[in-house]
């Protein structure tokens, strides 16, 4: 790659100008996805816009009840700074690759790649996040579930860059878990995020690597919300009834539309999601019962 085709903007405005002028260029931050795609020959390095010198992208700040996570915030930086505000997202960041990859990879890159197996996506869905997209002339925010259109496809326009993720601060217990056939450095066979939202009396979910796009298990969420209302459990913090948890798990599993591939079989993915949903709802609910700071 020649120096002329390796572009290094030093401000977000400059990056957006470059993006507008070169719709075919690859925008990259940590390069942990891009280099893999280049090695496999699935991407071709014509021009590359290196976003690592854009200071605005690295910012992480709290604005009211929401955390604005700049697209250039690395997994490592998330883990070090956001554990209390964004527990599910931080748990997901911990499962990414190795320390070296977590030191380079960014949340913006994860969104930009839009892989069905992206580790950040399920917690962003369970938290009800929005994605801020910018071009040289405008910016917009898109609800996370509207961001993905298919495997490795998103609504990101050819003149746009991911600017940030807007993630509501945790108002209740959250969890993220990822199944892989080895104990670290593995792409998800399937993953799940569960977040309790006592303030809105909702339980939200995000499923990864078990459908063409990451998605929420809406029927499962509705079922458990109804159960919690009926039993007044938000107020009483009573234990969950096993049958209700089991039905929630069934509905999470049913929400997925997994495939057989080299990483796992569809049947196993559905099975594992059922097990994870049961365990994770229980973890979150037990934390809700135990922690005085969580209340409806």
């Amino acid at each position: 790659m020649s120096p002329e085709s390796f572009l290094r903007p030093t401000s977000f405005a400059e990056a957006l100008e470059m993006r507008a002028a070169r719709p075919g260029a690859i925008a990259a931050a940590g390069c942990t996805d891009v280099l893999v795609e280049l090695n496999f020959g699935r991407l071709h390095a014509g021009e590359l816009i290196d976003l690592t010198r854009v200071p605005e992208l690295g910012a992480l700040g709290v604005e009211g009840g929401t955390v604005r996570v700049g697209a250039g915030v690395t997994y490592d930086s998330l883990i070090r700074t956001a554990g209390r505000e964004l527990p599910a997202l931080v748990a997901a960041a911990r499962t990414v690759g190795s320390p070296l990859i977590r030191n380079r990879g960014t949340i913006g890159g994860n969104l930009g790649s839009a892989s069905p197996a992206g580790d950040c996506h399920p917690p962003l869905i369970a938290c009800g996040a929005e994605v801020e997209l910018a071009s040289a002339t405008s910016s917009r925010t898109v609800p996370i579930e509207d961001f993905f259109c298919g495997p490795k496809r998103s609504v990101l326009g050819p003149d746009e860059l991911v600017a940030a993720a807007w993630v509501p601060r945790a108002d209740g217990p959250q969890a993220f878990a990822k199944v892989g056939t080895r104990n670290a450095m593995v792409i998800a066979v399937c993953s799940l995020a569960v977040a309790l939202h006592p303030s809105s009396r909702r339980v939200r979910t995000g499923i990864g690597s078990a459908a063409p796009v990451p998605l929420a298990a809406r029927a499962a969420e509705a079922h458990i919300a109804g159960h919690l209302e009926e039993t007044r459990a938000w107020e009483t913090k009573a234990p969950l009834q096993p049958a209700a948890v089991e039905h929630f798990a069934e509905l999470v599993s049913a929400a997925a539309s997994p495939i057989d591939d080299v990483r796992g079989r569809a049947e196993y993915r559905r099975h594992a999601l059922r097990v994870l949903a049961r365990r994770m709802l229980t973890w979150c609910w037990e934390e809700y019962r135990r922690e005085p700071r969580w209340a409806a």
């Binding site: 893999v36 090695n39 496999f40 748990a91 911990r94 499962t95 190795s98 969890a175 993220f176 878990a177 990822k178 199944v179 892989g180 056939t181 080895r182 104990n183 670290a184 450095m185 593995v186 792409i187 998800a188 066979v189 993953s191 080299v262 990483r263 796992g264 079989r265 049947e267 196993y268 099975h271 594992a272 097990v275 994870l276 365990r279 973890w283």
Partner: protein, 782 residues
């Protein structure tokens, strides 16, 4: 590239000497083959067949030749010599001619001024293939109407062992089993690479990553149409091998292009190409039947082994012979019947990998021993002790075991290693549950299991091969300091051989400073760095050379003492080195024999035994696994370097654990579907437990200092031990390695066989091609 030397002061024999090359490798200063560079060099790239079985209709290279930076594009017709090479038989084309037999087979090579240009030109070659019916299943290969991968048929070798009485009277209990193991990749971190430099004499110098310089040259020279002395090989930095560097990769391609363009040409494969650039561990299907008396004594073992050799012979004939001889395990069995076949298919070629046929059968015979222990209600460790081989035991090949065989000791020492303390689920780091960093359990679904396995592996080459290793030691004064130089063609590939050789020299000659000259073919062969052989073979040669240096020194000392004109006082070493002392020596192990028609014969020189016990924790709902501990007792003969010993046992165990839990090269119609470290998973530090290690030191009469090569036996037993522990934890059959989460949770049942395949008709015990060709290959390597 002048002679590169490594130098570091190390301890003597038995010391925990640090690696000569350790600091360079850790700091990134070490030059691996992929780092090779020459002014004006060209970059090579290879066009490989995308499908597994096809007729080549047409290859159009016009666009590629006109492509920017391209200096040469070569096809089969451009090979000046013989267009065939191979370790056991020369059956593999340098560039495909008429047919392709596996996906990934090289069809054309390009040299260009940059790697990107070379790859772009490869993309512009028009390859017109007509797909032919292929053989993608090893049992299908045996069917009468199966397509023939080679004209001589699909049976590459069949070994028949008939020992004792096939009727096996006296057995009171029988157990049967069917087992499968997957194709495993050696996954060396350094992919294939080399640099060919045309010489002024019409010859070529090749700097290359390999396990055996001389056997590479033996295969390269005839293809180039050059005499061997015009082909000079030099060892480049090898980033791991594990068997994957025994076969030719880019050596011939690089030399062809260098000679054609008169410029240096470098090849350096990426990871994806590397999966096509070397052979793999044979997938296997194994049927076994064990008969025993009520007291646990084995009476009979019968085994039917089927190995998928892929498209070309490589070292498959030797692998299947090993598997046949070890099929009954390290046990005394009076009646053994083995039928072992390796077949050609249109899958990628299989050949050498750490364990060389032994891990597959160990997986099966150890599962059988556990089944037997359950049927007899005898403790599995006790059952193994009751049947353990010992020196003098008659092997299934009909000859008494000649060397050291502390089988009882490795079993007892391994079993005596304390089990890990129970770990309460509460308060643990999330990383220390099955599923590790994924955080999938906080204590739910955990089941513990313990598994035990014993196995063995031959050390050095077998079946009558004249196995030798040459080394030269020079003692000289350098700026007043005594320095010993070791010169051998033996390959250091990360196993620590050079450190061991330096330890031997320090102990034998008492010198501080030992220098290792870079290996090349200007000295006689040292044989391969494989088959656990180089510590004994190269080590033995260095020891002998040191003895000869000492003899010359004492001659010089006597001469000095007899010289009355010399002033008094005993001569110092420095006084004796008025000119360097140089000595060369060859080490050989005892001669072995070929199989007779009943599979009997003294086929192996000696053995290394190992026992391992694995403790696992399984999440029984998700089928995820954490191995808590591997306890290992390894028959070392003598530990030359405790650090090197631990490194080999831990590394070998990790490779066996990988096959138990995750490692599998997946194929779809012969095409590898996971050729990357993203999808071909090898164990990480979170998957690998601490290894509690015991060395059993019973001197081996064949080994210098009583030592044995120990690099393979931990791999042989680790897969069996880990899967046994998983069976113990889950109560499931688990007859296939690697075990999938689906099997651990019961979504998939055990692998099922359609029945024991018929025994093929073959002319005899030798590999089938040897009955068809006239010795043009490297058959003496078998």
């Amino acid at each position: 590239m002048s002679a590169i030397t490594l130098e570091r002061r190390v301890g003597g024999i038995g010391d925990p000497a640090e690696r000569l090359d350790g600091v360079e490798k850790v700091t990134g200063a070490f030059e691996y083959a992929s780092d090779l560079c020459r002014d004006g060099m060209l970059f090579g790239a290879t066009l490989r067949s995308p499908i597994a079985s096809a007729r080549i209709r047409r290859v159009d290279i016009a666009d590629a030749l006109a492509s920017p930076g391209v200096e040469a594009v070569l096809l089969a017709a451009d090979v000046p010599g013989k267009n065939r090479f191979g370790l056991n038989f020369d059956d593999q084309p340098v560039l495909a001619e008429g047919l392709v037999r596996y996906a990934g087979e090289p069809v054309a090579v390009v040299a260009a001024t940059s790697l990107a240009d070379a790859r772009a030109a490869v993309g512009r070659i028009v390859l017109d293939l007509e797909e032919l019916p292929g053989v993608y299943d090893m049992e299908q290969a045996l069917e009468e109407n199966a397509p023939k991968v080679h004209e001589l048929g699909n049976v590459l070798r069949h070994v028949h062992i008939d020992h004792g009485d096939a009727g096996a009277a006296g057995a009171e209990v029988w157990v049967e089993g069917y087992y499968e193991t997957a194709m495993q990749d050696q996954a060396p971190l350094g992919p294939e690479a080399g640099l060919a430099v045309p010489g002024g004499d019409g010859g070529v110098d090749l700097y290359v990553t390999t396990q055996w310089l001389h056997v590479d040259r033996e295969q390269i020279a005839p293809c180039l149409g050059l005499p061997e002395d015009k082909v000079r090989l030099h060892l480049a930095g090898v980033g791991g091998a594990f068997g994957a560097r025994e076969d030719i990769h880019s050596q011939i391609h690089a030399c062809l292009l260098a000679l054609r363009t008169s410029k240096p040409v470098k090849f350096s494969y990426g990871r994806e190409e590397s999966f096509s650039g070397h052979v793999h561990r044979h997938p296997s299907r194994i049927w076994m039947r064990h008969g025993a008396r009520r007291d646990g004594k084995l009476v009979a073992v019968s085994a039917r082994l089927l190995f998928d050799g892929g498209a070309y012979a490589s070292s498959s004939p030797a692998v299947v012979a090993n598997a046949a001889t070890f099929a009954a395990g390290p046990y005394e069995v009076p009646n053994v019947q083995v039928e072992a076949t390796v077949v050609f298919t249109n899958n990628p070629p299989c050949g050498a990998m750490r364990g060389f046929g032994a891990p597959q059968v160990c997986f099966a015979h150890e599962a059988q021993m556990d089944k037997l222990a359950r049927s007899l209600d005898i403790d599995p460790v006790e059952l193994r002790l009751r049947n353990a081989l010992a020196t003098g035991s008659v092997l299934p090949t009909g000859r008494p075991l000649a060397g050291s065989a502390p089988v009882r000791e490795v079993i007892e020492r391994c079993a005596a290693i304390p089990l890990p303390e129970p770990e309460p689920a509460a308060g643990r780091s999330l990383l220390h549950y099955p599923g590790g960093a994924g955080g999938t359990t906080r204590g739910e679904g955990l089941r513990r299991g313990v598994g035990f396995a014993v196995g063995y592996k031959n050390v050095a080459f077998s079946e009558g091969f004249d196995d030798s290793s040459t080394a030269r030691v020079t003692l000289r004064l350098v700026r007043g300091e005594v320095e010993a130089e070791v010169y051998t063609a033996a390959v250091e590939m990360g196993q620590g051989l050079y450190t061991l050789l330096a330890q031997i020299v320090r102990s034998e000659l008492g010198v501080e400073r030992v220098v290792l000259r870079r290996a090349d073919t200007m000295i006689a062969s040292a044989g391969s760095s494989s088959a656990s052989r180089q510590s004994t073979m190269a080590g033995g040669a260095v020891r002998l050379a040191c003895c000869r240096v000492r003899e010359e020194l004492s001659r010089r000392a006597s001469a000095l003492a007899a010289d009355k004109s010399r002033p008094g006082g005993p001569a110092e070493l420095e006084d004796l080195l008025y000119e360097p002392v140089e000595a060369e020596a060859v080490h050989r192990h005892r001669r072995t024999e070929r199989f007779d028609e009943h599979g009997q014969g003294d086929v192996h020189a000696y053995f290394c035994f190992a026992a391992e016990r694995a403790v696992v924790e399984v999440d029984e709902e998700l089928g995820l696994v954490r191995v808590l501990q591997v306890a290992a007792a390894v028959d070392a003969g003598r530990v030359m370097n405790p650090l090197g010993f631990a490194g080999q046992v831990e590394g070998g165990t990790a490779q066996g654990l990988g096959l138990a839990l995750m490692e599998e090269v997946r194929l779809a119609r012969g095409v590898i579907s996971n050729p990357s470290f993203t999808d071909y998973l090898i164990p990480t530090i979170l998957d690998m437990p601490p290894v509690a290690l015991q060395a059993v030191e019973e001197p081996e009469p064949e080994g210098p200092y009583g030592l044995k090569g120990i690099a393979e036996s931990p791999t042989v037993v680790a897969t069996a031990a880990v899967v046994a522990a998983l069976r113990d934890a889950t109560g499931r059959e688990l007859n296939r390695a690697p075990v999938s989460p689906d099997e651990l949770v019961g979504l998939l049942g055990p692998a099922r066989s359609a029945g024991v395949p018929a025994v093929p008709e073959v002319p005899g015990q030798e590999a089938v091609p040897s009955y068809h060709t006239t010795g043009s290959g490297q058959q003496h390597l078998m």
